[in-house]
Symmetry: C2
Subunit: 185 residues, 2 copies
Amino acid sequence: MLDAVLAELGERGYDGLTMDSVAARSGVHRATVYRRWGDVGGLLADVLDAAGDDAWQPPDTGSLEGDLAALNREIHDALTAQPPIVAALIAASFRSEQADHAQRRLWEDRYARCEVIVRRAVERAELPLGTDARRLLIAATAPVYHQLVLLRTPPGPDLPGQAARTAALAASAGAFAVPPPAGDT
Amino acid sequence: MLDAVLAELGERGYDGLTMDSVAARSGVHRATVYRRWGDVGGLLADVLDAAGDDAWQPPDTGSLEGDLAALNREIHDALTAQPPIVAALIAASFRSEQADHAQRRLWEDRYARCEVIVRRAVERAELPLGTDARRLLIAATAPVYHQLVLLRTPPGPDLPGQAARTAALAASAGAFAVPPPAGDT
């Protein structure tokens, strides 16, 4: 069933996704689809929740910059994949409240799992104790999302690595120290 | 006319925006609206192009971090304003190709105008010659867009300043040097 949603979404985007087309593709009875999922938003929320229900772990390359670069390459590849399923799910989150909530749950879970990248860097003494893991992870990944999802500039092969390097340099310079240094408002 | 589009967009969002409602609110004849703008995407593209046709200049506070923080506060305020016109225009850019192109023109123009922030910092010897202005500006602003537009986490008052400080620290550490240092892929 969820495969049918993904296939329809990849082929037609959110605007072409209907309960009827999903029912037809999956072979599940139309009435069952409506009873169980209610509307397209319900289907998308289930797809997103299922995507998060996996054993994914962030890369473990032995260095902070390496981990962040590998993570950014995964994000880059997901956002530029064909068919554009991840991009279509993000676009759908602007349309459906259920998809919005599910997309936010998925991101929250992914960022939480990624915090181990920062813990390992602290254990290796690459970073000071008390580094704000979430802020560092958002700084590292945000340029990839911003360029590919909002600015929609052509993806450069350097983007994942450059964003990782920028965040790692800033982290070494104390940008994510907790509590923030004086002068940081 | 464009005021009517903004008012409708702020009140109803993209899904509630129709040629007829804009015609009714503006007092322009329906047939004229259709002839001149074609569809809602055409209206939104005109709104976005008009928004960029102004004398806006980036903040000039005397320091790189100050300029970036002030810029981020402007972005933060625009993205969290009520009615949520900027947010609605960004959401619309996922739906309409014309709005997408116009939104990208607007961002391109704004980032180009902001490059003077980096030039001034180079002139003050805050940054080395050959700093990649665009990459620095994207790194500084991306966390604000990412958190407010995609992650939709509650905006913290520290977000604009922290993102500015992170980018300024990374810039001082050579993250945006051109050509990139060895090891940057």
